[in-house]
Symmetry: C2
């Protein structure tokens, strides 16, 4: 049942999208190729017509998810009134919506400690995307911060990722909320 070149491209993209969601929802190790292909609406056998190995799709899914999320945050932040961009980004990142939406949220918060053990090529690509996110924050930083803007942006990004991960460890939303709120309050108090 050969498919046209255009259909093949679309199918491949559908697998990457499904993989990005499944990995973030259930973790990389816990997501089997059959789960992943099933979520993309296919059987597992066809996987190797698109990718050479599981590690291959992990790399592509990570790249896709990180770039997509960063782009969405950037569009959202830049649509805000001047001077409120950073506050909007921080508030959106640390929202209960984001906390509950693992499969569509930040891949670093969803898979951070699994990426640490990924092959170097995957880690390098994740680091590139992290630094691009840091660059976005740096760009949104108000003019009152003149020295070490990069260091401040690294700190803010780390706080967001750390706080969201901890909030998700909370076994109930009423324990998660104060973690998100605390981080939001103090990041904004210091830098927005």
């Amino acid at each position: 049942v050969r498919k046209s070149r255009q259909e093949t491209t679309v199918t491949r993209a559908r697998i990457v999208t499904a993989a990005a969601a499944q990995f973030r929802e259930h973790g990389i190790a816990a997501t089997g190729l059959a789960d992943l292909m099933g979520a993309a609406g296919m059987t597992h056998g066809g996987f190797y017509k698109h990718f050479a190995s599981k590690e291959d799709v992990v790399r592509e899914a990570a790249q896709f998810a990180l770039a997509e999320r960063r782009h969405a945050f950037e569009v959202y932040a830049r649509a805000q009134p001047p001077g409120e961009e950073l506050e909007a980004l921080v508030t959106a990142y640390l929202s209960m919506d984001h906390c509950l939406n693992r499969s569509g949220g930040c891949l670093m918060a969803a898979l951070g400690s699994e990426i640490v053990r990924a092959p170097d090529t995957t880690k390098a690509l994740a680091m590139e995307q992290f630094l691009a996110f840091v660059a976005l924050i740096e760009d949104l930083l108000g003019p009152r911060h003149q020295v070490d803007r990069h260091g401040i942006a690294v700190t803010i990004a780390s706080t967001l990722i750390g706080a969201l991960t901890m909030a998700r460890i909370a076994p109930a939303p009423d324990l998660a909320e104060p973690i998100l709120a605390g981080a939001r309050t103090h990041v904004l108090a210091n830098w927005a």
Copy 2:
């Protein structure tokens, strides 16, 4: 080859210690019971004389590792000259030593995103330990911070965990170092 009650207790503790190191080094899903028991100097069959399931030893290893690390940080910090305790803790947590020592370091940074998917009992225990770490930081916070000390401590703890995780994603130490240094500088500038 029955062992004495005392030996049995020691053996059980050895398994928990080995498990805590193996899980932090290689991840929970990637560590098999055979690896874990091998690291404790036994064969895998004896595992079920001490634990009811893998999830059981995960829970105990997490509890142990988090409590042990927090205790060590507390002892270290309180041994510093008055007023320098928080700076010492932050510096130690964000050191390259800690970054390279996954198997003996902070379990949240090593396994954060795997704990998110653990059963609620494990998540609850991890959250308790996180809040105890937050309480330690709150206690070390200087007297110039009077309002929302808990919120500040939550933010600092999140920043430490997030920054260490990101530093470990860096594929080389020269990319990890500025992340640790940036977070250290700005946490100390704001709150120490």
